[in-house]
């Protein structure tokens, strides 16, 4: 029964997170900002419309949004939320989780390249560059956590964490892994130190530029998938930093969602206080995140 809770919760509440981030940024900027549920309105509006396809595109362009949404959903079924177990779990599913996200990204890049637009090609190139650097950090951080808990499944891994595990020996390694995951979370979701989701100048956009040519339901699929991805990587991070397992389904769900909303508020504050990094410095930050993850892995290997 408890395994059935996380996925509907994610499907329903994921578009809320970008809304929270927007509201926090608007508050910091002294503006009113868009409504909290803006993404829901956008999705509803886009789904009612028809899609326009350029004659130069092939089936790849049409398959892109579907594959992106499907792979993100599949990744979500493997993911526990705090105390709530995942729908599916088997040893090694953390690798599958990482590569399902990679599959979605691959098809988004293919669809962007399929349009033949110079801007989309540039955005695709940047997206691949970021993710090639972020992926080692993600995998090494997950490997460090797996080594520390002795579990190869995300479910067992997050179930073995407890609030004490952050303050006992081995805790510093977990905190390092969390720091690496935070950088990956920001990079993969095109948040501010890496990419400004609000700029609409093609030269500076990364994620946004790749979805310029999608319209109607396709665009809705991509927007929804990126909200789900925010939820997925966010719950990786909050599950590590707020490992609460009270036992009650309702309490665990509330703790998990509360953690994610807190994370969204934190991201909003971070984005309000920081400027976007110069493009050449991005690799530095991602290399530093990888270094943190390697350090975490070495520490837990040593401690075992």
């Amino acid at each position: 029964m408890r395994t059935l809770v996380h996925l509907p919760l994610a499907l329903l509440l994921a578009p809320l997170l970008p809304g929270v981030i927007h509201r926090v940024k608007a508050f910091f900027g002294g503006r009113d900002g868009v409504p909290l549920f803006q993404l829901y309105y956008d999705l509803a509006r886009l789904l009612r419309k028809g899609a326009v396809y350029s004659r130069t595109t092939t089936w790849v362009f049409r398959a892109g949004p579907v594959v992106v949404l499907a792979s993100t959903l599949a990744a979500l079924t493997l993911l526990p939320l705090g105390g709530l177990p995942a729908l599916m779990a088997f040893p090694g599913d953390l690798l599958l989780f990482a590569y399902l996200l990679a599959l979605g990204r691959f098809f988004m890049v293919l669809a962007a390249l399929d349009t033949g637009s110079a801007f989309e090609g540039m955005g695709a190139s940047r997206e691949v560059w970021y993710s090639a650097l972020a992926e080692p950090a993600l995998l090494l951080a997950l490997a460090a956590m797996a080594r520390q808990s002795g579990a190869l499944s995300l479910n067992d891994l997050y179930a073995s964490l407890s609030p004490e595990s952050l303050y006992t020996p081995g805790g510093p390694a977990l905190l390092l892994a969390a720091a690496a995951l935070l950088v990956v979370f920001l990079a993969e979701n095109a948040r501010i130190p890496f990419d400004d989701p609000n700029t609409h100048l093609e030269l500076t956009m990364v994620h946004e530029v790749m979805i310029l040519d999608h319209s109607g339901p396709d665009l809705a699929f991509l927007e929804y998938a990126s909200a789900l991805k925010l939820w997925a990587l966010g719950s990786l991070l909050t599950g590590l930093l707020l490992p609460l397992h009270e036992g009650g389904t309702l309490i665990d769900a509330a703790a998990g969602v509360g953690g994610l909303v807190l994370l969204a508020v934190g991201v909003g504050v971070l984005e309000s206080c920081m400027a976007r990094l110069r493009l050449t410095r991005v690799s530095n930050l991602l290399a530093a995140a990888t270094a943190l993850a390697v350090l975490a892995l070495m520490l837990v290997r040593r401690g075992a």
Binding site: P169, G171, L176, N284, A287, A291, L292, L295, M298, R302
Partner: protein, 214 residues
């Protein structure tokens, strides 16, 4: 091993990585000063069961010199010599970070091979000390400016100090203070030298000094 000791050791490693990855000289100086504070706390946490006046004295003296006097001397040298703020590496920052990770792996491998002399909970200190020494050497070789080479020397000395921490009970206080005095004099002299080099040649690029002829 207690959580705090492990956190402190991790912070020492992180400060080393920061010295490798930072592009500004003043950021490097601040990081080395922070490392001095960390190393001052180290003996108190590592030997928290047997605190003696001697340990406090040692910690206080090294913190005072490493976290206050050295940064002040270096900051003065940077100001007087009018150094540009970039560290001017031979090896790029990302490559330096990668080298740092490699050093850490080598140090852990080496530390596991060495017979552990100290107590069980101090075993992590030896690899971290080796790592710090390697990073110091790397900074001396891979950075162009004389100021950053002095910083590398300081990191190197921090590594030797950490190594001594693993055996703090057996090491005479006199030896520790002697090393501190040596390093102090060395940094003092280097500060003066940097100033003179920059006044003679309008730069402190140590690489270009090798082209000198009479």
């Amino acid at each position: 091993m207690s959580f705090w000791l492990e956190a402190l050791i991790v912070l020492v490693v992180l400060s080393n990585l920061r010295v490798l990855g930072a592009s500004r000289i003043d950021a490097c100086v601040r990081t080395v000063a922070f490392q001095g504070v960390l190393l001052g706390l180290l003996p108190l946490l590592a030997h928290s069961d047997a605190l003696t006046v001697r340990l406090f004295l040692q910690a206080g003296a090294s913190t005072f010199i490493k976290a206050l006097v050295f940064p002040w001397l270096l900051g003065r040298a940077v100001r007087e010599a009018g150094v540009q703020r970039e560290t001017d590496p031979f090896v790029s920052y990302t490559a330096s970070l990668a080298a740092g990770i490699l050093f850490l792996a080598v140090a852990l491998w080496l530390g596991a091979r060495l017979p552990s002399a100290g107590a069980e909970e101090l075993r992590l200190l030896v690899p971290v000390a080796l790592f710090t020494i390697l990073v110091g050497l790397f900074i001396i070789v891979a950075r162009r400016k004389a100021v950053t080479q002095v910083l590398g020397y300081l990191v190197l000395e921090n590594g030797i100090y950490t190594f001594g921490m693993a055996f703090a009970e057996k090491q005479p206080l006199l030896v520790e203070l002697g090393i501190l005095l040596d390093v102090f004099v060395a940094v003092f002299v280097m500060g003066i030298t940097i100033y003179h080099i920059s006044r003679e040649f309008d730069h402190i690029d140590a690489d270009r000094l090798s082209e000198l002829r009479d």
